[in-house]
């Protein structure tokens, strides 16, 4: 269980990214965070695995306070939290295999990585992870030779290598076309349903939110302005919608959301 309590983040330039944010995520949930660009979604996700240090507040994960964790504790926490990024963030010049194996770094000793070797078990695990997202035949290719969709699959495989208990997905499909978006979210959903991994995912399109989320929180200017269950989202009104996405927001087509300057 993840408990976020009174989380506040103020950047050194004075920007207030998160204001007193509190919420709880039960194990196995698929929680979607919605909100405009700059509403604090990315900051929130990065505070959870401490890629960004929060200014105030606590984050309790399975009872452990991550905000006060030391280097060693943090390593143990991070290796159980997989992360998927909007721009995939693969090490572009390394092979797909190496990228996937990187997911194992939290488990292997730094001395072993100096020699650059991973164990046979890790290699086999990597092949299984690649099988899961259907990129086994790309293993030898350089990461930047792959298409966007394939790169994001590598990103997911890398997260899988961590044997995660939670996956943080920061707009995982914002750089992909709608068809690919469903494929990628499908993989994440499959992991969520088959292994019970908790998922925290930020998304932009309402139809994707309606299709995948089991629960939704809406952020606006660093504050939670909406919280709802799957049913709530399916019946979401324009008023609630505007509250999250601002006055200029409107439904597009079958239910995408645009927020003025966004998209």
């Amino acid at each position: 269980m993840l408990e976020v309590k009174n989380l506040t983040k103020i950047y050194s330039d004075g920007t207030v990214a998160l204001k007193n944010v509190s919420f709880t995520v039960q194990d196995g949930e698929f929680l979607v965070v919605i909100g405009l660009s700059g509403s604090g979604k990315s900051t929130l996700l990065r505070c959870i695995n401490r890629l960004i240090d929060p200014t105030e507040g606590d984050i309790l994960w399975n009872g452990v306070n991550t905000t006060t964790a030391g280097t060693k504790e943090l390593r143990v926490i991070r290796r159980k939290i997989g992360m998927v990024f909007q721009h995939f963030n693969l090490v572009k010049r390394s092979s797909v295999m190496t990228n996937v194996l990187c997911g194992r770094l939290g488990y292997v000793s730094p001395a072993a990585t100096l020699i650059g070797r991973f164990s046979r078990q890790d290699t086999e695990r990597a092949y299984r992870a690649m099988d899961m997202v259907g990129i086994r035949d790309q293993a030898k290719k350089r990461a930047d030779e792959l298409s966007g969709g394939q790169q994001q699959r590598v990103g997911i495989a890398r997260a899988l290598m961590q044997e995660p208990e939670m996956i943080l997905a920061d707009e995982p499909v914002a750089s992909l076309d709608p068809v690919l978006a469903h494929t990628i979210l499908g993989y994440i959903e499959k992991i969520n349903q088959q292994t019970g991994v908790t998922v925290l995912c930020s998304l932009h399109y309402l139809d994707l939110v309606q299709r995948y989320a089991t629960r939704v929180i809406g952020l606006k200017a660093g504050e939670i302005v909406y919280e709802g269950t799957k049913n709530d989202i399916l019946n979401m009104t324009d008023t609630q919608f505007k509250e999250i996405y601002g006055e200029e927001a409107q439904r597009v087509g079958t239910g995408s959301i645009t927020g003025g300057t966004q998209l």
Partner: protein
Amino acid sequence: MNTHPSVRVLPPPAAGLLSLIFPGLGQLCTGAVRKGLLISTSFLTLTALGLWRVSVLAHRETGWIDKLQKALSRQPGFMMLVILLFAAVWLTSIWDAYFLAQKRKKDRSAKGRNIIFALILTHFFVIGWQIAEIDLVKMVQKFPDTIPPLLKILMPWEAAIHRDRIEVDAKARILVDSEGEIPPVPEMIEGQPYIQVEPRTGKLSRMDSQGNIVEGTAVTIEGSGYAPLTEVQIFWNDAVGNAFRPRIDGTYAGTMTDAKGSFSYRMTMPYRLVPPSADGPQYHTVEGRQLQGMGSPKPSEPLVLTVQLIIETIFMGMMATLFGIIFSIPISFLAARNLMFGSLWSKILYYITRTILNIIRAIEPLIWALIAVVWVGLGPFAGILALTIHTIAALGKLYSEAIENIDPGQIEAVQATGATKLQTIIHAVIPQMIPPFVSFTIYRWDINVRMSTVIGMVGGGGIGFLLVQYIRLLDYRSAGIAVWFIAITVSILDYVSAEIRNKFI
């Protein structure tokens, strides 16, 4: 913008008049400040340059009118063109100011025409042509002069091989201008060259009392046992053993052997004073000398030196690159914006580092070499020092830009897996750094080897030193060998470095 018809601007005739007083003034007062200033300063510069060139052309004359006349008579084409353009720029600026003012009456921000800048630019180029002393006629006329040295440089290979030579000779005695026993025909020795002269007695050429030459006896020299198809030089030894080489009609006596190594040569006996004190029979000796190539062809000294020095050159480039890498890596971190913009002090350090790197880079390696020669003396070390200094600055900048271009996302992703700092560096930072580092380093090595071919010209060791010496000695063939080796080395290096870089990018 505002388009009030009632905007107050200078009336067009006034603008034109102002530009008549001084080009650009009209535009300036019409509100086109930058244009006006540009025209004025250009006009001032062009005037100053023009006057300077006139006084250079007529440096002995005193008055300006005299100077102008002299300059006109020396280079009428150039002077006419300059005066014409001078007038054209002036007139155009008047017309332009008038036109602009008229337009601005309607629209405050109207743009004028830019024909005047084309004229100004042309004017600069005309003066530039004269300052640079460009002389196409000379270039075409004198071109044939370059052909002989050029051919030697392009085809230097006969200077690349060398054969040791040995001189062989055979002698035959002859009785001259005196009575006595006629010397016998020389004995033939197996395996050695042999000559005989017929007749074995005769008279030398001499001068009569009027100073006319009276030709001596014609003799036939028959030789055999020489190297085939090679020159044989005829020498003459007088009674006291002084050898000299007679000339017939201005050319030295001598001939070529036939395919069997024999020859037959006919000449009149040379002029030689017989000292009055000499008495008794006077025996002279006719000698047939030949220079024979001995042993197999060997590389010549220029070739050996060139090879040695091209190796030195390549290693100079390598060593300079190595030292450059060692020093520029730590420096590059100080010059990377993304690392140094944390605190005020690091920011200051960043600007200091950048400034120093820029200054060092602005000074060419050749100039550094001149300083290095004073420092460590002539030789390759001075060259290495100079190249190292320049390499540190150049690579420091390139490396720091590679560091600035690191993708933080990749680092973030690896950190998120629970990787330690060391693991993050190994798996996310280094993979991003290696390609640009390798690429820049190879590129720099390439430059350094090319630079070290010329750095010797100022005493920095390497092949440049040799090349300059050969050129100064007018030994174009040896210089040609050096040029060829430089060309071959640099092209191989170009190819190799391009290949390596392609592998890494």
